[in-house]
Amino acid sequence: MATPAQLGLMDAASPVMEEMIYFHDHVMLVLILITCLIFYSMLVLISSKYIYRFLTDGHVIETVWTVIPAIILVVVALPSLKLLYLTDELDNPQLTIKSVGHQWYWSYEYTDYYDIEFDSYMLPLGDLSKGDARLLEVDNRVVLPVDTSVRVLVTAADVIHSWTVPSLGLKMDAVPGRLNQLALQCSRVGTFYGQCSEICGANHSFMPIVIEAVPVEVFEGWCDMMLDEESLGSLNMKR
């Protein structure tokens, strides 16, 4: 999650987010170049005492300041389009999960190999343990295997929500009556947080998303645990 007073992007936990960070650095190079150029030009022009009263046009300079911005735009657009198509790429996912937005919680379904479904409500302030993040913790987290290509199908049951995990570079609108597909791959183990990103009512700010990326064996153990009859009641699961 973000740290207090953080200005930059969160550390990447997926290859796509890494590429987004590098693209951000690339665009920052262009912006710094333009900003320094303009800033220096402004200083020089404001402090200059020279005036040329008969200046009407300058064909060379007009050509230069048309062609160079066009080149700059191409320099920004090409990596941008490459990244755009990279985010849509889904290479033979090994797991598919469904994420359904409700007012005001998320529900998840793992129906590939088992029939696992559970709801994920935000933990209220009184239920937080020491070290937990306020407004970010949930009762049942999404557990996923690390270094595995996962397809997330996002939809909603009532109004439009948005399933977001910034450190994985994921954001997809959950639209009722529509299935949106996301490609997800966690590069490292850990917990990754997100929040609903489409206004959906009174508790829009209180329906977070938490992903636990764990080794495959641990994920399989978690699946077995979720299917265990004894834990069904405590997790408010449906089968």
Partner: protein
């Protein structure tokens, strides 16, 4: 070239002051902005890429998972000391 007579200064530039001023400072602006851009690339962008490469070069999933598990990060895998306390 004849020596400048004593008491006479070289003839100053009489015309085109604005354009020569703009050309000189245009070149300086270009060099300055490209220098700052290069500095950002060398100080921020390239080190960031190297940092990610080094992080994942020797990344051990199991080792990191065990360390995080013992710190109590995960709900699906509780730390061994918590499980031992529950058994007691």
């Amino acid at each position: 070239m004849a020596d400048v007579p004593a008491g006479r200064l070289p003839k100053p530039q009489m015309r085109g002051l604005l354009i020569s001023h703009l050309k000189r400072h245009g070149a300086i602006a270009l060099v300055f902005s490209m220098g700052v851009t290069l500095a950002y690339k060398l100080a921020v962008a390239d080190p960031r890429k190297r940092h990610y490469e080094e992080f994942y070069k020797n990344y051990d999933v199991k080792r990191e998972f065990e360390a995080m598990k013992e710190a109590g990060i995960f709900n699906c895998a509780r730390p061994s000391w918590e499980q031992a306390a529950e058994e007691d």
